[in-house]
């Protein structure tokens, strides 16, 4: 009888323990509903979505973002990124460079950048992203197949997002995106200098909405004031978009785009140095 009761107690313990481990999983970039008012009156109760860098690159590509050699960040520079902050920002930079190469069918440089991302992920303890699904092999076996490479890049974004959420690293997402956004804007603005067209200028101007969300997302994530300088730099860039505020369909003029590109290049150079 005693043994039976002890068994019941043990089984109860086991069930309780198992249930506890499956119903709750750590989520740090979750939005927890804490507001008690019945109206959203304050910005704090909002969270800010950031688009995938691949989507921005594809939109730019459809608007005339052709491939110009030597614009991307040299892969060898990876050796100089020694702090976690630099590694995260340059993970974003290299992600954007990989997307730029993929959408322009530059598969060997795309693979090189993937190797860089893998190296940085190891330094950032995000190795599982690349180990799962065998991304490296998939990329190498799809050389020249633009659609497959695009799908692989999209899968990488899903894995990254899931990994950051599952491992309570949600605050890392906006930093990585900041690097990717700066690089994509740099590529767009530089290509626009040699291959200017209305569509690309429109798409560059449209990025004001993304920058607005990026600054807000970074500010929310910056609990330890680690990103203050980056936020300040992004706010300077944001000021260039102020002329658009009166009309959401407005676009920057040629000279405004040139001014913007100078500032973008300055911030980008600070990140990749």
């Amino acid at each position: 009888m005693k043994i039976n009761i002890i068994s019941i107690v043990f089984i109860c313990f086991v069930f309780a323990a198992c249930e506890d481990s499956t119903t709750e999983e750590p989520i740090e970039n979750e939005t927890t509903i804490e507001a008690t008012s019945d109206k959203i009156q304050q910005e704090e109760s909002l969270s800010y979505m950031l688009p995938s860098p691949l989507q921005i690159a594809e939109i730019f590509k459809n608007s005339g973002l052709n491939f110009v050699g030597d614009l991307t960040n040299p892969k060898e520079k990876i050796a100089s990124y020694n702090t976690k902050y630099n590694q995260k920002l340059n993970f974003g930079i290299y992600s954007a460079d990989m997307a730029y190469c993929i959408i322009n069918n530059q598969t060997q440089p795309a693979i090189d950048y993937l190797h860089n991302l893998k190296q940085l992920s190891e330094k950032l303890w995000m190795t599982d992203i690349f180990n799962s699904m065998g991304l490296s092999k998939r990329l190498e076996s799809n050389i020249g197949n633009h659609d497959s490479l695009t799908i692989i890049m999209a899968d990488l974004q899903i894995l990254l997002d899931d990994y950051l959420v599952d491992n309570g690293m949600g605050y890392t997402g906006p930093i990585i995106f900041a690097g990717a956004w700066i690089e994509t804007m740099y590529l767009g603005a530089e290509v626009n200098k040699t291959n200017s067209n209305e569509k690309l200028i429109y798409r560059l101007s449209e990025q004001a909405v993304v920058l607005d969300n990026l600054i807000k997302a970074l500010t929310q994530a910056d609990e330890d004031n680690d990103f203050t300088e980056l936020i300040t730099d992004l706010k300077k860039i944001d000021a260039h978009f102020d002329v658009l505020e009166t009309n959401e369909d407005a676009v920057l003029t040629e000279s405004q785009i040139n001014d913007l590109s100078i500032l973008i290049a300055q911030v980008r150079n600070k990140i990749i140095q």
């Binding site: 249930e19 506890d20 499956t22 939005t31 019945d38 939109i59 899903i158 807000k216």
Partner: protein
């Protein structure tokens, strides 16, 4: 006899607490999102996602997500509410939730079906949108859950 009584009481207490634990709704982010990812295929590609964890309180509450969209592109909004122990409302507005001129483009309460836990919305016009989760008031203690949102795009 005394020991048996203690064991029995302990087992009963554990059984009760276990039963309550079993009533909790599972909130496994990756599983909720995995279900939504399947609904992007074949035309849409993954853009981004957000898990919102909800705590029901004695007063109704709200929270929101700002979603930037690019002009002229096609988007699919997907929500998985399987992680919620009690219904909430989901509304998508074309302007800030505080704006007097906002228009509700989607409301879960208008399309809610018994037993269905995945809902989608495809905006006609692409511009920045605002998702608002409205959490009803409850007297129940420690009532929690989560909702998964996933955005797909088609160029």
């Amino acid at each position: 006899m005394k020991k048996s009584l203690i064991y029995s009481s302990f087992a009963l207490l554990l059984s009760i607490s276990t039963a309550f634990t079993f009533e909790e709704v599972k909130c496994i982010a990756s599983e909720l999102k995995a279900e939504l990812k399947q609904l992007l295929k074949p035309e849409y590609k993954y853009d981004s996602s957000q898990i919102t964890r909800v705590t029901y309180k004695k007063e109704a509450s709200q929270s929101g997500i700002e979603v930037p969209l690019f002009m002229g592109e096609k988007y699919r909004f997907l929500f998985n509410i399987a992680g919620l122990p009690k219904d909430i409302d989901i509304t998508i507005y074309d302007k800030k939730p505080t704006s007097k001129n906002k228009i509700a483009l989607f409301s879960l309460k208008d399309v809610k079906e018994e037993g269905k836990h995945i809902y989608s919305f495809e905006p006609v016009k692409s511009k920045k949108m605002y998702i608002v989760y409205t959490i009803p008031a409850t007297e129940e203690e420690n009532l929690k859950g989560c909702v998964a949102f996933l955005l797909g795009y088609k160029l």
